[in-house]
């Protein structure tokens, strides 16, 4: 259940972005989940629902995309797509890798409304 910590970090970023743009209401949050981080989307949604209560992001939707893992072999330098649990290099067979993608959680965008805008129908 580290989804709660992740959701807390997301909310900080979302509220900051919304405040900077004078938004009063957050409608949708787009987030990229690196596969290495083992985030359970349903658990993140549940944590989000609880955390946003009473904030301008209350009732907002989460748009989640999983980012596949890319590994770089420290032996031969090849970069390739890897599955969780199967990190070995297809060229040299070593599993001494640097994870170059799919190991982060990125807040991509926030769709929100300012006080003057009419609410969505």
């Amino acid at each position: 259940m580290h989804e709660m910590s992740i959701a807390t970090g997301m909310l900080q970023g979302v509220l900051k972005a919304a405040a900077e743009h004078g938004a009063t209401r957050v409608e949708e949050v787009e987030v990229e989940l690196g596969a290495m981080r083992l985030i359970v989307p349903e658990a993140l949604e549940m944590a989000w629902e609880v955390l946003v209560e009473g904030t301008p992001a209350a009732g907002s939707r989460l748009k989640m995309t999983e980012v596949p893992i890319r590994a770089k072999c420290r032996e031969c330098g090849r970069t390739y797509e890897a599955e969780v649990g199967s990190f070995a290099c297809p060229t040299c067979g070593q599993a001494d890798v640097e994870i170059v993608a799919g190991d982060d959680i990125i807040l991509k965008s926030v769709i929100c409304r300012t006080g003057e805008e009419a609410p969505e129908p």
Binding site: S86, A95, L107, K108, S109, T114
Partner: protein, 218 residues
């Protein structure tokens, strides 16, 4: 209105971890984060290995658990300084909790700091606490299939300790299965077979720690 943000959600957490690392670099101590399931022997390993680090070598421990100060009490004899962090409902230590823990320690008086993370094979792996090295423990009773089941934990390990090896033979456990799974997950980390209870392998772990500390920039 759509606001493009493109910022890592972990930025704040990683910044705190970086600050922890800076404080420990300044104190010239080596910080090792110990990760494993509950009951794999993290506390016993520390109890047995800290006195073996050498005369005059001072080690501190930050112990994370949901409840109780039992581990801190157990370590009080072996470590120069111990702080228990109770996470309440938290399934992993956060860099903010470690920062607080560091403030309660006299870092200048330590050569090593061990962070005994909350026993859990998933969540702690996702958070940098500011450690210099990660040690992952896997005990024989947990089974020889756990590397394949929790690969992200093992992928990020700098050293892997197979603990309670005195139980091989009593339990159906094969080292070759662990080795085969590690071949797909992490071939860089040294694997140390040990039993802190009998003392087997503890010297090898202590030698690894000394090597890592010696390799730190002065």
């Amino acid at each position: 209105m759509k606001i493009n943000v493109v910022r890592s959600v972990l930025d704040a957490s990683d910044a705190l971890a970086a600050e922890n690392r800076r404080r420990m670099d300044e104190a010239r101590l080596l910080c090792v984060n110990l990760l494993s399931a509950p009951g794999s022997g993290k506390t016993t390993l520390l109890e047995k290995s800290l006195p073996a680090l050498g005369e005059g070598i001072r080690a501190g421990v930050l112990v994370g658990d949901l409840q109780t100060t039992r581990d801190a009490e157990r370590l009080a004899g072996a470590a120069a300084q111990v702080t228990q962090i109770n996470t309440g409902r938290g399934c992993h230590l956060s860099p903010a909790q470690v920062a607080q823990g560091l403030s309660g320690l006299d870092l200048a008086d330590l050569d090593y700091l061990f962070i005994e993370n909350v026993g859990n094979m998933v969540c702690p792996a996702a958070f940098d606490l500011g450690e210099h090295r990660r040690a992952v423990l896997l005990s024989v009773p947990e089974g020889d299939d756990k590397v394949a089941k929790y690969p992200t934990l093992f992928q990020k390990a700098d050293v892997i300790l197979l603990t309670k090896v005195d139980l091989v033979g009593v339990l159906d456990y094969r080292f070759d299965r662990v080795r085969d799974d590690l071949a797909k997950v992490n071939t860089a980390a040294p694997v140390i077979r040990c039993s802190p209870k009998t003392g087997d392998g503890v010297a090898e772990w202590v030698a690894w720690l000394r090597e890592q500390r010696a390799a730190m920039p002065r």
